[in-house]
Subunit: 360 residues, 2 copies
DNA sequence: CTGTTAGCGCATTCAG
DNA sequence: CTGAATGCGCTAACAG
């Protein structure tokens, strides 16, 4: 029930009958019999307050459980001591970054705010710029952008991008080595003896996806193997599209014996589709992903994947941001973190003679 | 959907002279040659603006890439359309809740802000109340408290607690069934034939921990087995203490053949310690946890554990909160979600001659 | 239709 | 040492 539908009386504080609720500095001041500015001074430890009143006010503050509104304070101050992590949605990747950010923020004196408009991103491309405008300058001192798709945003404040999907970012950036990672993954498959390796590709407009596909091609070239273009299917980093792509690949007259998913989401979709089609992984089909999101270990079988040090990426991004806030000249840093292969149970050597009829 | 790289993209702002930074409404007004209130009206679609100026102002807004400051708007308005998730730290549990919250918030028109002071919580008990004061009323319309340790916080605003660690909360609450879950876990061990089952207990002041211990005891009682008090060691939901507890347990003259960790963190610690002591899990020792955080599948061997539907807890909490905001009379809802056993590879029948060949 | 005025809660001058 | 005034960016009354 919303009781305070009445107009706020500027002079009279909200009736304290209801216990709790948002206590304002006004109320503290009134209760303590001093002015708001005095309360403010006490709160911020400014000089110019007698020990007696200071102690009295402190007492009232704790008694009322008063805490300054982050918002009001942010609006007034230039510095807020809050760092923002801006994400399109809270999913496995971004939350992993968040954990890393939390690692880096600990004992830094900063607080962390993660902000998301609730996944309604596809509607508005350029969420990153809008989010930045909303929170930068007020609320947060600096921000980490997680997987932004538009990085030509020239923002003058301290902003760091993590795993930006587009290239030529003018922002300081922390990313995994996509090219090297894809090579690692496909080389693993090649090394196992696979020669017909399919790929569920990512969003064609994203540089990260392009690099992973390039790694796939380079690995083939290095092995002296031609790339069969019919073995590439668009998954677009998207569950449903990845599933369709997997179906297309596995329905081929001469289907691949292994599939490289452009990310774990895609690879997990391949795993599902393989199960639906009665294929045993890894006996009939090897599957490998990219990211090593925690969820990838939960699949059946657990997914072999290329790990990006996501958590560390978050940690490094915040560290970079803190340096930036500290005035360090690291504005054009482009960190590329190495990727590694995590071998679990979704990959194995191809069964039987190379192109022998598979069970369908 | 994101193929709109068409010709003139009104979404791309042109940075004004001073490089794009925080653009204020003042600047938009000046640039458009109108007053701030007119800009405000246009922005909020209020009536009373001629189509001509409205369009002009809209043009300037998009050209400058202006977006209203969340903070300033929050301060002015009673309603912000933002929901807060307040956490002590971003760790596996809270981030899982966050994913669930994001699920529930999608297409609700609300935005999500997750707030953490950076894990420096142990210093100040009662972070939940302080966080609430900081953000409620301004910045967020309602809040979800994740694993609060103090719930006697009588807050008059819409607040929902997830997995509160203390009992009798006056807040609407969503939690897993700790007692039933513990029974499930220990019964599993009992069923396997274990008779000396150790427990690394949680923080004694937390009801969730107390319930899990009670479940342990009840399971023993139901099986007609006495509880050996020397087999209980305090882990306090804390990595280092859990490790020490594990060492103590495993160094016993007659060590347990299985250990129940009060949460996954504790169980994972037991796994580590067992490895250090040269014990093979599950041959020499069975280990079971509680929570089923994603990380529990990554251990070696993957951890058998009692799952709480964490993500769903986040989803339900936000749904509850939205109902509350909508004026629904659900203020005293106490949701208890069922727990389930997730059998992975850290548990097996005891090796010894004790109760060989026990079939259940 | 438009601009002016008055705060939201707080921190900081600057008078008293 | 203290309190009244000012304004952060914005919205909602009310004048013009």
């Amino acid at each position: 029930m919303d009781l305070d539908q009445q107009a706020d009386d500027p002079g009279v504080p909200v009736a304290p009958g209801g216990a709790g609720g948002r206590v304002t500095m006004q109320q503290v001041a009134a209760e303590a019999g001093v002015s708001v500015s005095t309360v403010s001074k006490v709160l911020n430890g400014r000089y110019g307050v007698s020990p007696a009143t200071a102690q009295h006010v402190t007492g009232v503050i704790t008694r009322l459980g008063y805490e300054a509104s982050l918002v009001a304070r942010s609006l007034r101050n230039r510095r807020t001591n809050v760092i923002g992590v801006l994400v399109a949605d809270f999913e496995p990747f971004s939350t992993e970054v968040l954990k890393g950010a939390a690692d880096a923020i600990r004992d830094s004196g900063f607080e962390l705010v993660a902000y998301s408009a609730g996944g309604r991103v596809d509607e508005h491309v350029g969420w990153e710029r809008r989010y930045l405008s909303r929170v930068m300058g007020t609320l947060v001192d600096g921000a980490v952008l997680v997987t932004p798709t538009v990085t030509d945003v020239q923002y003058d404040g301290p902003v760091v991008a993590v795993d930006p999907h587009t290239g030529r970012s003018s922002l300081p950036t922390v990313a995994g080595d996509n090219l090297q990672g894809a090579r690692l993954g496909v080389d693993h498959l090649l090394g196992l003896g696979h020669t017909r390796i399919g790929m569920v590709t990512g969003r064609p407009d994203l540089v990260s996806a392009q690099l992973r596909e390039r790694g796939y091609r380079e690995a083939h070239a290095a092995a002296g193997l031609p790339v069969d273009e019919s073995l590439l299917a668009l998954g677009a980093f998207e569950a449903e599209q990845a599933r369709e792509a997997a179906h297309r690949l596995l329905a081929l007259p001469d289907p691949p014996t292994a599939v490289f998913g452009a990310n774990d989401l895609s690879a997990l979709a391949v795993l599902e589709v393989a199960a639906e089609r009665g294929l045993d992984v890894p006996r009939d089909l090897s599957v490998i992903g990219f990211d090593n999101v925690p969820e990838s270990a939960l699949s059946d079988p657990p997914l072999t994947t290329v790990e990006q040090p996501i958590r560390r990426m978050g940690r490094d991004a915040v560290a970079l941001l803190l340096a930036l806030l500290d005035g360090a000249a690291v504005a054009d840093t482009q960190l590329t973190l190495p990727t590694t292969l995590v071998t679990r149970r979704s990959t194995a050597a191809p069964a039987g003679p190379t192109s022998n009829g598979a069970v369908s």
